[in-house]
């Protein structure tokens, strides 16, 4: 329950920050994608289900306020991103930073590619190399760099939550005995 509320708040604030702060720090019109970092990080740390759930939240926020007429498109993409990150939950190791950041980069790359195909290629915008070099790759790099910091923060939060839970279980056990 507590975790559910925290997940909801994380998704919510990542979206609010994305529309305001991340747009303010954009370089050359390209900014990082905070909800994507969150989705991948949570999916990687907590597994497929929570990844999907948080992806669903992040995507739905985006759909409702900024969707291109199709409610659910971003949500669908984000759910798959969360699921994809959750697959690698087996490889989760608290001190390792390289792999999650790589995962964030990879997810952003495929996210950019999927968005290009669905929203641009289908409208006959064929110059893929331009979009790759000017939007997708810069976004991937920017998101990965921000991902290092954000993943670190989320990791701290995760550790704290785990500690709290362990404590609660211990208290419960001692009460029972």
């Amino acid at each position: 329950m507590k975790r559910g509320i925290i997940n909801f708040l994380l998704a919510f604030f990542s979206f609010v920050f994305q529309c305001t702060v991340c747009k303010a720090i954009a370089l050359g019109g390209v900014g990082p994608d905070l909800p994507l970092i969150l989705t991948v990080s949570i999916g990687f740390m907590r597994g497929r289900k929570e990844g999907m759930l948080i992806g669903l939240l992040c995507g739905l926020f985006r759909d409702i306020l900024y969707g291109n007429g199709l409610l659910g498109l971003y949500a669908l993409i984000f759910v798959y991103i969360g699921y994809f990150a959750g697959i690698f939950n087996k490889l989760f190791f608290a001190k390792d930073l390289k792999f999650p950041v790589f995962l964030i980069g990879l997810s952003d790359l495929s996210y950019g590619f999927i968005l290009y195909v669905l929203t641009f290629l289908l409208r006959r915008r064929l110059d893929f190399t331009y979009y790759l070099l000017h939007i997708i790759l810069p976004e991937t790099v920017y998101t990965s760099i921000l991902g290092i910091a954000v993943y670190g923060l989320l990791m701290k939060l995760e550790k704290k939550l785990e500690n709290d839970r362990d404590k609660a279980i211990k208290i419960q056990e001692s009460e029972e005995s």
Binding site: F15, L70, L76
Partner: protein
């Protein structure tokens, strides 16, 4: 013990199936919103009391921060004065624009083109930009006025110097505006001096240079040149006529030798867009 295990078994659905279920639901949702507006409306009203207040708050925090930073350089009074003068200037610029356009027309074009310039008569409402599209692909933004202020879908949005875009979605206290530099935006325009119609469309590839594309300009007398003013045409079904879009910055004849295309420098500075005016008259 066995009870707990039993309960656990009951709850867990394999995530594979969960993914399938969610996907199915979302695709259903997409189809539904494509054909009707049943689900989208309540969701949008939820947004108006959840996300939007926070974006407004963050926006005001951001503005407060900027103000504090500037304070170190300037004196506050000067800034406030500057702010009010700026808004005045915007207003005056708009009025001046209208006056110049009116004069231009009155003297030469009115009878010829029957372009009834009524920009000053339009009922306008000011709004602040409080959020921008979260992705890097589209140029839509959020303003802090919505249904309750009388804003409806397809209302034109202008800034002091020209056309900004069109309202595409509305909520209780917010509205999304698709700017004319958005890759998905198409505006029917015309050259002010010759009244030749053309199609103005946003292009992500030109966004970096701050330009937009135009095409299908039928100009057999070869009059259109760089620097010509482009306004919204009177045959557009969503845009009010006579709003300045921008000025031709490059003009080339197409390979079909009939039409021309090129680029336009928009009259509005889209990077520093904070305040916009929404025209409450619908075409």
């Amino acid at each position: 013990m066995s009870k707990i295990q039993f309960r656990k078994k009951k709850i867990s659905i394999p995530s594979k199936y969960l993914l399938l279920i969610i996907s199915g639901l979302l695709i259903g949702l997409m189809l539904l919103t494509f054909f009707t507006d049943i689900i989208a409306k309540p969701l949008r009203s939820i947004a108006s009391f959840t996300v939007v207040p926070f974006e407004q708050g963050l926006d005001s925090i951001g503005r407060a921060y900027v103000a504090k930073r500037d304070e170190l350089i300037n004196i506050r009074n000067v800034m406030e004065e500057n702010e009010s003068l700026k808004s005045q200037l915007d207003q005056l610029r708009l009025e001046n624009n209208q006056l110049v356009e009116d004069k231009y027309e009155l003297s030469e074009l009115r009878q010829l083109y029957e372009l009834d310039e009524r920009l000053a008569d339009y009922d306008k409402i000011g709004a602040r930009v409080i959020g921008k599209d979260p992705g890097n692909w589209f140029s839509t933004f959020l303003i802090n006025k919505g249904n309750s202020d009388g804003i409806e879908i397809n209302m034109n949005v202008i800034s002091g110097s020209g056309l900004v875009g069109i309202v595409t979605q509305t909520g209780e206290n917010w509205a999304t505006v698709r700017s004319i530099i958005d890759d998905d935006s198409n505006v029917s325009g015309m050259v002010l001096s010759t009244s030749d119609t053309l199609m103005v469309s946003g292009d992500l590839q030109l966004m970096e240079d701050g330009e937009i594309r135009f095409s299908q300009l039928f100009d057999d007398q070869n009059i259109a040149a760089e620097g010509d003013e482009i306004v919204t045409s009177n045959i557009s079904d969503k845009f009010l006529p006579g709003l300045t879009i921008g000025y031709i910055s490059k003009c080339e004849t197409d390979s079909n030798n009939l039409t021309k295309s090129g680029t336009i420098m928009p009259a509005v500075d889209f990077r520093h867009l904070n305040l916009v005016l929404v025209i409450k008259d619908l075409k």
